[in-house]
């Protein structure tokens, strides 16, 4: 008898074996598919991080987040506060901001010469003062060298000083009206400070600059609010311009103090001491330029570029917030892909430029959030790239003029 079909046990075994095979196959295929999905997800994430990197390095070289040379609505750092006679990092050096006059190459030359390369052999570029001379607690902290270098060509140096160390020390008689041989460097320093703000002046001046000038710049120092304000008393021919060398500490708000209060010192300093405990940042027109509907006012921006930001402390009431305040105002966060599928990671980049501890820093951060786990990651790096002066030389002074080609007008030579 020919037996056809299966017994029940055979059928059950066959089904069980088949199920095992099929389940194994399905698990394998599912695993493979998950691997491909994970690979795709990683590839998307890597691609976005790469995009963030290229956007960051492009920004480091071209400063578009601070000043878009093709879009007049995104050039707010080109503003100029005429009432206070102060500009911003991208303010063009036009006839109002940096008027040119005098004899090229001579001490009486004024304004910015973009071709001049500041040779150390040129006495115009030297610091004419005596850092060693001791005349503390007066405004005589370069010694009696205001007769050699001054913001004015013919200052009146009539005031008699008494050394603050004691009654036994002799008084120093004034000189009367003198003709000062060196006025170029002091005026470059003052003009660049007023035209660009504190970050700009420190970048434009040579690395060994002593920040301070004899004699107040008079009406250029228009921030004094009247009698009783220390800046108002600044307008004399003799002594040091207060904005450079008197530290802040008088309270929040607009301070207009270039010097920090490191060590309670009150004299002209080089860049190391100035930014050892504090920072000069470039403050963007908005920390979130893509979404901000209430960008800061011109006056706020000008004030933000005319103060020393304390960064040796997290927060102090008299320094209006310290580091958190600086980060909130100076660091821009920009989405790499503003409109993205929900399955893509949220990738953003942050840019911040500042001078601290003698270093001009272009800080970049690329951040991403996993859509699956919510994990946050960050890649932080700094770059050697285009400086502020380089960025200004890249740009046409015409609001929609785009990039300046060789030989064309720039923000430095409009």
């Amino acid at each position: 008898m020919i037996r056809r079909g299966f017994t029940l046990i055979e059928a059950l075994l066959a089904v069980a074996l088949s199920m095992t095979v099929v389940l194994t196959a399905v698990a394998g295929v599912r695993l493979a598919a998950q691997s491909v999905t994970a690979a795709n997800r990683n590839a998307v994430e890597n691609g976005l991080i790469r995009a963030g990197y290229f956007m960051a390095v492009d920004e480091a070289d071209f400063w578009r987040d601070y000043d878009d040379p093709f879009d007049a609505t995104r050039q707010r750092l080109r503003g100029y506060d005429a009432a206070r006679r102060r500009g911003l990092p991208f303010t063009p050096f036009d006839a109002t901001v940096m008027p040119r006059s005098g004899t090229p190459g001579a001490e009486d030359e004024r304004g910015w010469d973009p071709e001049y390369q500041w040779p150390a052999s040129d006495a115009r570029t030297w610091f004419h003062g005596n850092l060693v001379e001791h005349a503390t607690r007066t405004q005589h902290r370069f010694g009696h060298h205001e007769i050699f270098a001054h913001v004015k060509e013919e200052p009146t140096l009539a005031r008699t000083f008494v050394d603050g160390l004691g009654a036994a020390t002799p008084a120093y008689a004034g000189y009367g009206q003198v003709r000062t041989p060196h006025t170029w460097a002091a005026n470059q320093l003052t003009a660049l400070k007023n035209a660009l703000g504190y970050y700009g002046v420190t970048e434009y001046m040579p690395a060994n600059t002593i920040y301070g000038v004899h004699g107040a710049p008079g009406a250029d120092n228009a921030y004094g609010s009247g009698p009783g304000d220390p800046l108002a008393a600044d307008d004399t021919d003799q002594g040091l311009a207060h904005e450079w060398c008197l530290p802040s500490g008088s309270g929040g708000g607009v301070q207009w103090r270039f010097a920090n209060d490191d060590g309670d010192t009150a004299w002209p300093r080089g860049i190391y001491r100035l930014v050892r405990d504090s920072t000069f940042p470039v403050i963007p027109a908005s920390a979130t330029p893509a979404a901000d509907t209430t960008p800061w006012t011109l006056q706020t921006l000008v004030a933000a570029h005319g103060r020393s930001w304390a960064t040796d402390r997290v927060a102090a009431s008299w320094q209006t917030g310290g580091i958190p305040d600086l980060l909130a105002k100076a660091q821009m966060a920009i989405a790499v892909v503003p409109l993205r599928p929900a399955s893509w990671p949220a990738v953003s980049r942050a840019t911040m430029r500042y001078l601290n501890n003698c270093r001009f820093t272009a800080l970049n951060k690329i951040r991403w959030i996993s859509p699956v786990t919510g994990a946050r990651s960050e890649l932080s790096f700094t770059l050697v790239a285009t400086s502020l002066r380089g960025a200004r030389q890249q740009r046409s002074p015409t609001p929609t003029g785009g990039w300046a080609r060789p030989g064309q007008p720039t923000l430095d030579a409009p």
Partner: protein, 333 residues
């Protein structure tokens, strides 16, 4: 083949095909990712060359432009003594300064318009190379030889065993010929390129003004030649025999290398200023410490017995005043 066997074959083949498809998709995705990442690597490599080129400009104004027998010191790209273009060893005297225009009289060593090319590679062994290999402390600590006592009387780590070194250490210790190595090898290193480091990055420097330079920063295999014709001209003129052999003498090989490399252009300006003509109060205002106090230039003491201390110069080669990325590739670099 039975129908059952055929069915199994179809199922197995189908699953294999599916898995193969997934594997291929995975591999293609990974390969694409790697290729795109290579762009990032090349860009980063080119940016490192910007730092290298700036370092070259800083150092060459003061060092390295002498001859093999005349290691004369330079005084900057604009000579800090006379304002003429350098670097040069001797300052011009009064008669020479009167007779020449400092803005146009050419530098003797690197006149305006000069281009220098620097293909980079990693040495087999750098000068003064030391090994990270852990070793026993060779300093004798038995106290028996006073002159050789270490600075710390209880150094850490302690020698695990008596090292048996002689009391006197002299230069011959570097020249014992072990493995053929000599002290000279230690001093001079081994400049032969490591094979994996060649053809990866380079920079070019063109002097465009007394203190201004156009830098080309590259990551790729062209060795910094602007184009094949430049390499060919260097070869034919005898400036660099065999220059085109790196490309097999074939312009298409060069073109292929050029198409796959990153090139960035920057204008920079050198400044003789060194950083920080100021002091740092390393003893935190008023109290002396183990560093020098009352050094040169004790600036602005607040009190008669006060002391501020040393200047904070970061280097003695000058600084880079500004950097500007060139928006469009220049025609002449």
């Amino acid at each position: 083949m039975t129908g059952r066997g055929g069915s199994v074959l179809i199922v197995v083949a189908g699953m294999n095909a599916l898995l193969a498809t997934l594997a291929i998709a995975f591999l293609v995705r990974m390969r694409s990712d790697v290729e795109e990442s290579a762009l990032v690597v090349r860009d980063a490599q080119a940016r490192i060359m910007l730092v290298a080129a700036c370092d070259y400009v800083l150092e060459a104004g003061r060092l390295g432009l002498g001859t093999a027998t005349d290691h004369a010191e330079g005084y900057g790209w604009i000579d800090v003594r006379d304002g003429f273009m350098g670097p040069k060893a001797m300052a011009y005297d009064a008669a020479e300064r009167t007779a020449r225009d400092p803005t146009t009289y050419p530098s003797p060593r690197f006149p305006v318009g000069t281009v220098a090319r620097f293909p980079m590679h990693v040495w087999q062994r750098t000068r003064y190379a030391t090994s990270l290999a852990a070793a026993l402390n060779p300093i004798r600590t038995d106290g028996g030889v006073a002159a050789m006592l270490p600075y710390l009387t209880a150094p850490d780590p302690q020698p695990a065993v008596d090292n048996g070194w002689p009391a006197a250490i002299d230069a011959t210790r570097f020249d014992d010929g072990v493995g053929g190595a000599t002290r000279r090898d230690y001093l001079h290193g081994d400049p032969r390129p490591t094979t994996t480091s060649t053809g990866m990055s380079w920079f070019r420097v063109k002097r465009t003004g007394p203190a201004r330079f156009l830098l080309t920063c590259g990551a790729g295999a062209t060795l910094g030649w602007k184009d094949y014709a430049e390499a060919e001209a260097a070869e034919l003129s005898g400036v660099m025999p065999g220059a085109t052999q790196a490309f097999g003498g074939d312009p298409r090989v060069f073109a292929d290398a050029a198409a796959n490399e990153a090139r960035l252009w920057y204008a920079i300006e050198w400044s003789p200023a060194v950083g920080g003509a100021t002091y740092q109060c390393i003893d935190n205002e008023q109290s002396p410490d183990h560093y020098q106090w009352r050094p040169f230039n004790p600036v602005h003491e607040r009190y008669p017995d006060g002391h501020q201390s040393q200047p904070h110069a970061r280097n003695f080669l000058g600084t880079i005043r500004w950097i500007q990325r060139i928006v469009e590739p220049p025609s002449d670099y």
